[in-house]
């Protein structure tokens, strides 16, 4: 499925802020990105699909929006 990926915080130093990619699920998404950018390995990431944080891999639907986020540092 073709999904939109948005990146935040330190990830924007490595990846584009917004891009489209075609993957089956979040696991494949992370695998693809990690193979292209080795600095992504071992990074703690929070993932939200359509503004809901996920705690395990989920299958993606066409036009889903996936947010890849490093640990928060507001305040």
């Amino acid at each position: 499925m073709r999904v939109q990926v948005k990146t935040f915080g330190a990830l924007t130093d490595i990846l584009e802020k917004e891009f489209y990619i075609t993957v089956v699920d979040t696991e494949e998404l992370l695998a693809v990105l990690s193979s292209q950018h080795t600095t992504l390995n071992h990074r703690r990431l929070l993932i939200a699909v359509n503004n809901t944080i996920i705690n395990k891999p989920v299958v993606l639907q066409e036009n889903d929006v996936v947010a890849l986020m490093p640990p928060y540092s507001g305040g």
Binding site: N51, A67, M69, P71, Y72, S73, G74, G75
Partner: protein, 146 residues
């Protein structure tokens, strides 16, 4: 009760006048006995001999608004508050300027103070906001919260 899902993000620093206006605005509410306020200010931290000059905040706005509604409702349910206001900066904020403002009001002091403390902790921990620390030589590092 100000429970509406208003925008909490301010472009750049939060001006002291806005803080004063928020306080003054509540003088008409005769059931309020206590206000508790937290202000976060940009500190000139030293990292490896370099000094922080500003922090540039970026936010996942869509997720942040979902999360803020969740936090706001949980805190209103837990404490007998009259009012709650939260503002956080987006974009660059210089050393000495205010980037984070939490304001709670209640009839008695305990609710306002406890709710304010809980909001500060939850917002720092749960809100998708990132601070990019800009040093005086224009290099940067991404802030990590303790």
């Amino acid at each position: 009760m100000t429970k509406q899902k208003n925008d909490i993000f301010i472009q750049g620093p939060i001006p002291p006048e806005q803080i004063a206006a928020t306080i003054a605005m509540h003088g008409s509410k005769s059931e309020i006995g206590a206000h508790s306020i937290f202000l976060g200010q940009i500190r000139a931290d030293q990292v490896d001999g370099k000094t922080v000059r500003s922090i540039d905040y970026s936010i996942n706005r869509e997720l942040a608004l979902v999360k803020m509604t969740e936090i706001r409702e949980a805190v209103f349910d837990k404490y007998p508050l009259t009012c709650m206001h939260v503002y956080h900066s987006e974009g660059p904020v210089q050393v000495g300027e205010i980037c984070f403002f939490v304001f709670t009001s209640s009839a008695h002091r305990r609710a306002a103070m406890d709710a304010c403390g809980e909001l500060v902790e939850r917002i720092k921990k749960e809100m998708p906001i990132w601070g990019k620390e800009i040093f005086e030589d224009d290099t940067h590092q991404w802030k990590t919260n303790r």
